[in-house]
Every structure is written in C-alpha cells, then in structure tokens.
C-alpha cells in the first residue's frame, strides 16, 4: 500500500512554477476564491520567460493580504512596513542598480497609507515595477473601506455604503509620470502575464493594476456571490481598450471595466538623469554611478 502511494506521488508532475515558490511555506494564507494567487501565477510565468537572472530579482511587499506575496516567492524578498514598500525599494534599487526591483502590494497599502510614496516614485521615474492587486477592500483587517472601494459598496467601516470618491489608479499613475500603465483582472491571465513581462522589460516606473476578487470580505458583504461569480463578472464586463485615455477608465460599483495597456512611453529614469546631470556638471571628474 505504502509503495503504491509512493508510486503515485512520484508520478505527479511538478508544477512548472514550483521553483519560483517557497513551497516550505505552503499552505498560504489566502482564502478560497481569492485572486492574489492567480496574479502570483501570472507573475512567475512572466518571470520564467523574461530572461531575467532570478538571483538579481528582488520583490518588496508592504502589509496586507497582497503584502504576503513577497514571502511566498523564492527570490530575494522583503516584507516591509505598512505602506512603505516603495521607499524601501527606492533604497534597494539606488544602492544596487543591477537589481530588478518589483513592488507587489495591495490597494490600501500602496494608495492609502503609501499613496505619497507612489506619486513621488512615479514622478522620479525610479526604475521599478509596481504591481497592485486591487480587491477594493482591506482584506486582512476585516473588510474596511479602501481608497479604491467603489461608491455605494458596503464595507465594515461603511456599513451604510461608501460615499467617498475612489481613486482611478491608472489615471493617477499616468499623471504622475509612469512610463508603463496597464490594468487587468484576475480573469485575464494571459494578458496579465504578457503585461507583467512587458513591464519588467521597461526601464523606469511601470505600474499594473490587477482587479481581483475578495470573496470573503468584499463579495460576500456586497452580495456578489463567490470568487467564481466575480470572475464571471470580470469576463462579461471587461472591455479591452489599449491606449484608452486613463481619465476615462474610472471604476464604479459593478460597472463595465476598461482593461488594457493604457500608457507605454519612454523617459529617462532617475539614475540615468542623475548620471547625465553630474557628467555634464563635473565632466571627467565624475564616475558614472553603477552601484
């Protein structure tokens, strides 16, 4: 009997993304139907074909459900403080420009407590990729209203419905100077994978928003069914509009979702500007900074 089990186990094929994960940390903390795991799958598949040296990839997360992503990835990974993965990543990148730095965090972490850091990193055009899993809510702390919660949606701190205007994240990133801005949902796994790969290849501040279901604390409270129902909603209500004006992609409660690659432009990143500036200023006395 034991031998039989062993045989069966040996015949199970290894999941192709397993080498990207800290399997000794499984099971993970995410709920059934949560979209974060799907995004991690896309991220690892993008990495797989990116041609990047994985020893030179660092992932930085803040706090929250998406904040746990760093801890499950078998890369150099940093689980920092609430709202502060971007400034940590800033130090990491500037201290060693050879590193490919990815910030992977949630909407509350990046845009409420961490909003100030986001706008400045985009303005400076720091060479990093910011992936935001937007589940419209604070999941880990129990479903409180977030700066991304649609108007009229119910949260534990808006029991009578939300009346605050949420952020339009692609518009925010675009207006602050991000060189790459895209939005997908957890349903769009192929598009998302391709988009992450593009963002990783882009020099400068790239941003991807991923809408993802939080069945436990958002869908349930708003009577939107389970994770699968939310995926069906994404499937049926998303419209791909590459190059859409980011002003026009704001989200309403269960509204149509405009997804796609909205911004893909070039402008010199922070360290390029720094080196060019000092070279002009100091001439031969200046050694271009490489870390």
């Amino acid at each position: 009997m034991d031998e039989q089990i062993l045989e069966i186990e040996e015949s199970i094929p290894v999941n192709p993304i397993e080498s990207f994960l800290r399997t000794d940390r499984m099971p993970h903390i995410w709920c059934p139907g949560c979209g974060i795991g799907t995004t991690v799958n896309c991220f690892t598949r993008a990495l797989e074909t990116s041609g990047l040296d994985l020893n030179k990839v660092s992932v930085v997360s803040g706090i929250g459900c998406t904040g746990r992503v760093a801890g499950y990835l078998n890369l150099d990974s940093f689980h920092t403080t609430h709202g502060r993965p971007i400034p940590f990543a800033t130090g990491l990148k500037l201290a060693n420009p050879e590193l490919k730095v990815v910030v992977y965090s949630g909407d509350g972490d990046l845009f409420a407590i961490g909003g100030n850091h986001f706008i400045h990193a985009a303005r400076r055009n720091l060479d990093m990729t910011v992936i935001c899993v937007n589940n419209s809510i604070y999941g880990m702390t129990g479903g409180q209203v977030a700066p991304t919660t649609p108007i009229s949606a119910t949260a534990s701190t808006t029991p009578h419905g939300n009346f605050e205007q949420p952020f339009n994240l692609p518009y925010l990133a675009d207006s602050c100077g991000a060189v790459y801005v895209a939005r997908w949902t957890a349903f769009h796994v192929r598009h998302l994978t391709k988009s992450i790969k593009e963002a990783l290849a882009k020099k400068g501040f790239s941003f991807i928003e991923i809408l993802a279901p939080c069945p436990t604390l958002y869908s349930r409270r708003n009577k939107l069914g389970d994770g699968l129902d939310q995926m069906i909603y994404y499937k049926e209500n998303s419209e791909i509009k590459h190059g859409a004006d980011t002003k026009s992609v704001a989200l309403d409660f269960q509204s149509k979702i405009i997804v796609g690659k909205f911004v893909d432009r070039d402008r010199p990143d922070y360290l390029t500007l720094m080196n060019e500036h000092y070279q002009k200023k100091f001439g031969d006395k200046y050694t271009p900074y490489k870390g």
């Binding site: 660092s58 760093a70 403080t81 060693n96 100030n116």
Partner: protein
Amino acid sequence: MKSDPKAVLTGAHFLDGDHACSEGAIAAGCRFVAGYPITPSTEVVERIAERFPLIGGVFIQMEDEIASSIAIQGAVWAGKKAMTVTSGPGFSLMMEHIGLAAMTETPCVFVDVQRAGPSTGLPTQPAQGDMMQARWGSHGDYGIIAISPNSPQECFDLTIKAFNLSEQYRVPVLLMMDECVGHMTERVIIPPAEEIEIFPRRFYDGPKDEYLPFKPDEDLVPKIVKAGDGYRIHITGLTHDEKGYPVMTAAAQEKLIPRLVNKIKFNAEKIIEYKEDNIDDADVVIVSYGITSRVAIPAIEQARKEGIKVGHLRLIVVWPFPEKRITQLAGRVKSFVVPELNQGQIFYEVERNAYGKAPVYLVPHAGGTVHNPKDIYNTILKSLKGK
C-alpha cells in the same frame, strides 16, 4: 578594515557639528543617505549632497522622514552603508522604522539633531528631549545603541563609531546630537584614512545552502548577506525563525525578542563609553551628556574652587546605560546631580540605578537655550544640604 583615502578629507578643519557628522559618515564608508529637510539637522544632508557625487555615493531627498528611514534600509540590504538625518518631529515619524531595523537586524544610523519639542516646538533651538524616545520610541521590545557627542570633533568621531557599532551588533544606532553641538563651529581634526578603523559588515561566507539569516553567532548577532547574491533571502518585520520565515507563535516570539534585547544587554560592557573627571574623591557626581556636559563645567569648577568635591561623569554612549557604574558610585557618593535640557529623562535612569543609596537631583530645563551654570551650581549645593 580602513577608511577610503579618496573620500577622507584628512587635515585640520573649522567645521560645525552637522558638517563634521557628514564627514564622519563619509569616513565610515556611508554611501547612501536619504533625508528630508528639517532644522537644525539639514546641514548634515546638504554637505552629503555636495560631497557624494564625486565619491560614488547616492543622496536622495525623500518625500518625508517615513520614506527616508526605510529607504536607507533598502540600501543596506543592497549592500551599502546608509544613514538618515532628522530632528524631533522627523524623529517621531521614524519610530516605526527604528523598530523595523531592530526587528530585521539591519545595520544603519539615524542622526537626531535635537530641538525643543513637543510637536513643532522651537525649531532652531536646542533641547535633549528625545533621549527616552530614542530608547523606547518604537513599539515592542528591542535593543538599540544611542550616542551623544558634545563637540564638532566628537560629531566626526562618534558618527564613525555609530556606523561601526551598527555593523558589529546589527542594530540601528542613534546619534543623539543637539542644536548647539550641531551648529557650534570648532576645530575638527580628520585623521589620515589609514588611521580610521572601520568595522566591516558581518557577511556570511559559509556554504550557501546552509545559510540561516537569523541564526546568531555566539555574541547573539547573526551573519548578513545582501540581495542579488543568490541566497534568496526573506526579510520580514513579522516575528520570524532563523530562516527568516514568519512564525506566528508565542514560542517563536520568545526565541527572537529576548535575543534582540540581549544582544545589546549582554554586550553592554563592551559598548558602554563614558568619561570621568575628578570622580575618585567626589562627594557629588554630575551626570551629563551632549551640550549640557560643557555647560556643567563652569559650575563644577566654581564648586571645586570652594572646596566642594564635585566629579563629572559624561555619558558618551547613553544607551546602553552604564547601570553598574552608577550603582557602584551610589554606594559611596553623597549625591548625583543630573542637568539635562528636558524635564527629566536620563535623570530617572540615574535614580533607578542609584537604588536609593544616594539622592539624585534633576536640573531641568525646557529647552530653547542651555542651562545657566548657576542653576547647576545651586543644585550641587542643595544636594549636599539634603534638600
């Protein structure tokens, strides 16, 4: 390990404390500084911004002190020596990241050029009101080291010491300057680079697959690696095991947190530094630090001229505190007098360690200027009368 001769400005200079601190950081090998402007500390980063481009350093003015205090930690994990600089209001904002540095054992330096608070207080005027905040300001239990210079020369020397101690014990080290010391201009001697001792980062060099990021050496300090070297480290502010993985149990907490406290506590005698004058025959001992240690000197001299045996214990390392020395002295002196530019902070530490064997007198000051030495002198007299 020695300092980099290309970066060290060997020679005699006329510098203020803030600028001397910048030069100390450069001599110590610091090549990443993140800061946010705040009086009276800004001159430190201004000089860094001036000097860094030609010596291979990166200075970035961040959007606030919260960002500055974590950007330096990112830089450390990428292999740099790093520092941030601020004053009271910014120091308050940095507290969470002092906790992060303590928890993740990230060697880095925080400089606080103290001004009078609370809140915005007196932005351009001195105080020593952040001493307890330095020790206890972040939530939870941890150990740190805090150092207090009393001259521009010491701002140079002790900034190097701050970096060295941070590397040796993998803790945030807090350089607790004050506005007077920061803005005071004096002769500063910068020695040749080969005479400046640098404590190298405690990099792991064993077999890669056996590395445990939080497995301590005998002195309770673990070996470090950096991002990009293929170790695939995980660093978290959550309670973690030796592998660095989060473990949400009381047992993991019990294994980690006492070590973070004890690596300073058990090594305290090696870290502690103070300077004593006229202690052997003293009836009264003045315990002071920073600018107040200089303001106390006229009061001590006056008293000694009148035949009162006053000694002086000046704290150079303030945290860890020289508990044993105070207890020892308490057994034989008549009193302690503690002048400080606050309403009583280090005073309580002296009192606690005197165990009631000698009375301790505070000479408080709200800040904004320094003490009148007369107030210290009068307290010396009062302490002998037992009032």
